[in-house]
């Protein structure tokens, strides 16, 4: 009897700390700074969804000059949030990235133009204009769009002049560019907050132009998927993350507060984050995390139709897998 009690106590003593250590460590590299664009992951972290799945997740914010693909290649993260064009381009460059889940169903990318620049139809009005574009892997959707329009990005009267846009909307406010790249949930509102009204602006959503590409998917390296333990951990990660996303969709205010608590820079405001959370909810709606193959094909088609300078030169193979989401959701 005493022996059994002793054994139970010893067992409890061993199991106690062991429970804490049994968690799988995962590092997630975000595509951009801490903001409601990544609310689902922060919610999953704060609400203990990762804990419940036995995961110890580290969320690393990105920034203007952080390319998540490079962080992954360098071993600085297990899984990254990346846009599909950059991921497929990296894959063609020899970095075997695989899409394991797609929390964002729709694209939030658009070009926001000043009405006074006289642009109303992308087919005819862009030539000779200056457009602001993000780089570090975010230029691919834009380059695809321009080549479908048959416009050179080298400037001149028949092409467009491209500016490397920083992390703010000043080029538009300063009228240094006729249009700048914006996300429906972020930069567009920064322009509005700067004092311009929606009537001063013309917006062209990539999805309306038929050149939308998949954004904010979860990617990992091919080699990670060959390890059964990591596959299991990733499946639990995706399940918890999607739970976080659905929670954020239903509670945008709370999600914004959680994001704000996690923002170490203190640069974000609650108004902007709440608005962002509700805009992002529109993009995550309709996705349970599983990549829709039709969306994937549309992205690949857009990237391949790059005229003289396509983003990817051949049809990618094995660039996505349903293994993780199938296991996570069933």
């Amino acid at each position: 009897m005493t022996r059994r009690i002793m054994a139970a106590i010893a067992g409890a003593l061993i199991a106690g700390p062991a429970l804490a250590q049994d968690k799988d460590d995962l590092t997630l590299q975000l595509k951009w700074v801490t903001q409601a664009q990544f609310a689902g992951y922060y919610v999953a972290q704060e609400k203990g969804f990762y804990d419940e799945e036995g995961l110890n997740v580290t969320i690393r914010p990105g920034g203007p000059d952080i390319a998540p693909t490079q962080v992954l290649a360098g071993g600085g993260a297990d899984v990254i949030v990346e846009w599909m064009p950059a991921a497929l381009a990296a894959r063609e460059k020899g970095l075997p990235l695989v899409n394991i889940a797609q929390p964002f169903k729709s694209s939030g990318m658009m070009l926001t133009c000043l009405k006074e620049s006289g642009i109303s139809d992308p087919q005819t009005d862009f030539s000779g204009k200056t457009l602001g574009v993000w780089f570090s892997g975010n230029e691919y959707p834009f380059l695809s769009w321009m080549s479908t329009l048959g416009l050179s990005t080298e400037g001149g009267p028949d092409g467009v002049t491209v500016l490397k846009q920083g992390f703010n909307v000043d080029p538009l406010l300063q009228k240094q560019a006729a249009c700048i790249s914006t996300m429906t949930y972020n930069e567009y509102w920064q322009v509005i907050d700067a004092g311009l009204t929606p009537d001063d602006l013309v917006t062209f959503k990539y999805s309306d132009q038929g050149v939308a590409t998949l954004e904010d998917g979860l990617y990992t390296l091919q080699s990670t998927l060959e390890d059964e333990d990591r596959v299991d951990a990733l499946a639990r990660f995706v399940r918890a993350s999607m739970k976080g996303w659905k929670y954020a969709e239903e509670h945008p205010e709370e999600a914004a507060e959680i994001v704000l608590e996690n923002d170490e820079t203190g640069a974000q405001t609650i108004e902007h984050q709440t608005r962002m959370a509700s805009e992002v909810a529109k993009l995550t709606a309709g996705s349970d995390g599983t990549l829709d193959e039709a969306d994937y094909q549309q992205t690949v088609k857009t990237l391949l139709s790059g005229g003289s300078d396509p983003v990817i030169s051949r049809e990618p193979e094995g660039a996505f897998t349903h293994i993780i989401t199938d296991r996570a959701l069933n």
């Binding site: 000059d65 390319a67 693909t69 490079q70 290649a73 360098g74 950059a86 381009a89 990296a90 460059k93 020899g94 970095l95 780089f135 570090s136 892997g137 975010n138 230029e139 990005t153 080298e154 002049t161 491209v162 500016l163 490397k164 846009q165 920083g166 703010n168 000043d170 080029p171 300063q174 240094q176």
Partner: protein, 282 residues
Amino acid sequence: MTGALAGTLPILAVWAGGWALNAWLARFDTRLTRILVAAIFGITVIVLWEMIVRIYRVPTVILPAPGQIAASFAANTAILWTDFVQTIVKGALTGWLIGAAAAILTAIAIDRSPFLQRGLLPIGNFVAALPIVGIAPILVMWFGFDWQSKAAVVVVMVFFPILVNMVAGLAATDAMQRDLMATWAAPYGASLWKLRLPAAMPFLFNGLKITTTLALIGAIVAEFFGSPTHGMGFRISTAVGRLDLPLVWAEILVAAIAGTLFYGLVALIEKKVTFWHPSQRA
């Protein structure tokens, strides 16, 4: 473990071989061996780099091999040349010349008037302390995205070191020399032109040499904050996003070569101008 060890042996062998060869060469102190020793050291470093990257299979994204960098350099000469002209010639060189001219004129004005000396030097000091990452975005907003804003950043960066050196240079003559000019009834201009400017030259060139590399760094970093789609800073920051690291290193190589040549050129002019100075006696 044995694999890692097997890879380490040839690396150690090359390193020890280079060392031994140089140690042996160093016994003969002629002009040729001095050049040889330096060349062998450089070649050994590059060979070791290539070997380490290949043997330990370091991913290209972390560190490309010198061979890959050379191949990228050869394949992208057109891009590298466009970037060089945009960043070094238009941005750095223009900014450096404007900044140097402004600093020299300001130094003479400060030298002429004690009032300016008390007012301008602290302001110059203040400008020198501004961090480049803080002023670059502002100057991009003021002067646009093209090379003009990069030149403006360079002006701000090079102005103060040249100013301080020039002010010190203009004070470098001693009282005896100045008294001599006064006994000949030389006006301010004549004494400046014939005595004090030549005496200030070693100081001025000191400032000019220091700022050659500052100008390059300023022009490249300023391009991170908004640029047209060419330029070395643009390429370095965007090629990383495209995982084209050999191109990034090729740009770094161009910057290193350009910086060395720029410095060398200024040092050469200095030799011609200040041949009379004790430091130039070989």
